[in-house]
């Protein structure tokens, strides 16, 4: 079947099998390998992309279902050569180690900040509760999102010594 969608602002049309998963369409057909394939079962969240600005797990969305819609992946976070604050936050606050969960984490938390520019630590943790990171223990991910929120609000210096919940 033929499917047309907008990916990172660009319209793409491809001939695909009806059962093709969106994650494989993005990775194998479009070469957008920033979106990862971790569990196949909507558990791990490494495959999160936006479907019309809503985070979805692309391992459980058929590529055909994205037809006519707008998809944004991690490759589309950087705009006009400028890193998104969430990307800088992850880099600044060591929100990643192996980097495998990172694209999904950033897509989810960017969506969070779009809806809630000043989330609490608890709200950040709830937002990423559908995603797994095996390296960081999450504390630095939460801190990365806070860094980005403060950066966007122009209040970043306030955060420098903010205590972390659940971190000894």
């Amino acid at each position: 079947m033929r499917v047309t969608m907008t990916v990172n602002g660009e319209e793409v049309t491809r001939e695909i099998e009806g059962r093709l998963l969106l994650v494989h369409f993005l990775r194998d057909d479009l070469g957008l390998t920033g979106t990862h394939w971790g569990c196949d079962t909507s558990n791990c969240g490494t495959c999160v992309v936006w479907l019309d600005n809503e985070p979805v797990k692309s391992c459980t969305v058929l590529a055909a279902m994205a037809g006519g819609h707008e998809v944004r992946t991690v490759e589309g976070l950087e705009r006009n050569g400028e890193l998104d604050p969430i990307q800088r936050g992850f880099m600044e606050c060591h929100g990643l180690q192996c980097g495998f969960c990172t694209p999904g984490m950033m897509m989810t938390t960017r969506a969070l900040l779009d809806r809630n520019p000043d989330p609490t630590q608890q709200e950040i943790r709830e937002a990423i509760s559908g995603q797994i990171c095996r390296c960081t223990g999450y504390a630095t991910i939460v801190r990365s999102v806070q860094w980005a929120a403060a950066e966007e609000a122009g209040t970043r210096t306030v955060l420098e010594d903010a205590p972390m919940e659940g971190v000894s």
Binding site: D28, T33, H36, L83, M91, E92, L96, R134
Partner: protein, 480 residues
Amino acid sequence: MTAVEDRRTAFEDNDKQPVGHGRMLRKEDPRFIRGKGRYVDDLQLPGMLHLAVLRAPMAHARIVSIDTTVAQAQPKVKLVVTGAMLAEQGLAWMPTLSNDVQAVLATDKVRFQGQEVAFVVAEDRYAARDALELIDVEYEILDPVIDVRKALEPDAPVIRTDLEGKTDNHCFDWETGDAAATQAVFDKADVVVTEDIVYPRVHPAPMETCGSVAEFDAIDGKLTLWTTSQAPHAHRTLYAIVAGLPEHKIRVVAPDIGGGFGNKVPIYPGYVCSIVGALLTGKPVKWMEDRSENLTSTGFARDYVMRGEIAATRDGKILAIRTNVLADHGAFNGTAAPVKYPAGFFGVFTGSYDLEAAYAHMTAVYTNKAPGGVAYACSFRITEAVYLVERMVDCLAYDLEMDPVELRLRNLIKPELAAAQDPHAFVKALIGPASYLTGAAAAWASVHAAFVIYLLTPLFYITPPDWHGKAQPGADEKKP
């Protein structure tokens, strides 16, 4: 900002920022945060084919027959390979990193649930998966050995019938320390506490599953393998043995790895299958396992049944520690390297305590579970050893009705004692100051100090050998 500029900023910042405060920027982050990591599954080579592995649905069963004709006839399928076909080429078994052998594809029987039985190479990954369902395998189910404590019972089914003359599920024995001297101390002790400790199996579950892309250049006779490996050099040596190629004709590339935690040290049959697929088709072949395959068939951690014994005086002087361990190594011994065992468990199970004697004995057995046993420093068995000794000290404190911190403070090695005591003295002296700490910090310090000993254990190899673990005769008996 370009990646180069990111990096320049990173280095400038690093000059100003203290380590450990989240400001030490990393060289690899600029590509990771852009989705430009280079993981194995990101690799696409021209003409690349995809490989999928058929796995055993039961833990222990004899393979009666395998029919691949329907799978073979599918339009996108290039190749279907069974254990019998590999056996014809002498490729059905591969050596492990622990002087054992492991089936690449099962020939005679399957020995754990999830074991590799056949593989398909097809034009895309969906077609390869489809074809797996068309392979018809007839099994005769055998009784499995699941409980490690029953593995050595006389009537336990023998798992490793492939090993010549094997009549039980014994894998190997190790010991360290002086059994007689330790027994003498236990005989005179006021208090002896015994505790059975079961440390169950866990899986490291890195976010990226295991996989590989194999490419064979038939003109130059060169093999390239991009693989999710934490130990590419060891891999190259094994592939040289299996593929019959000299090492300089093999290039193993470990690109970005989506987490490992030890799970990506062993050599899994899927890697070898991708090599065989590339050799037979002349095309690059990619194998990526899914999450279920990763959890059921790859390296685990722990799975130790330990009996701990601690001897002390009534007033809280710890005299000796002794342990017997029953280790579940699964169907094949795929631990990273058995030589590390003494460096880990044997170097740490005495904790940071001033003891008169100590003895550890370990029996490893085969069971119908996935092989491996190398994760979270688990090939060193540090975690198990620290848990054992600190649990025993806690139990002793409970029995003596003493504060566990006070008990630890009283028994930590003092710096002034360290020099004359044993070959470990110079290491233990480093952690001596722990004994001057007060309160709960002291207990934590002893745990951390144990880890320091572990980190420094390579030094033990240059000390006199009287304390070293030594392999029992018979440890090598299972050579193929």
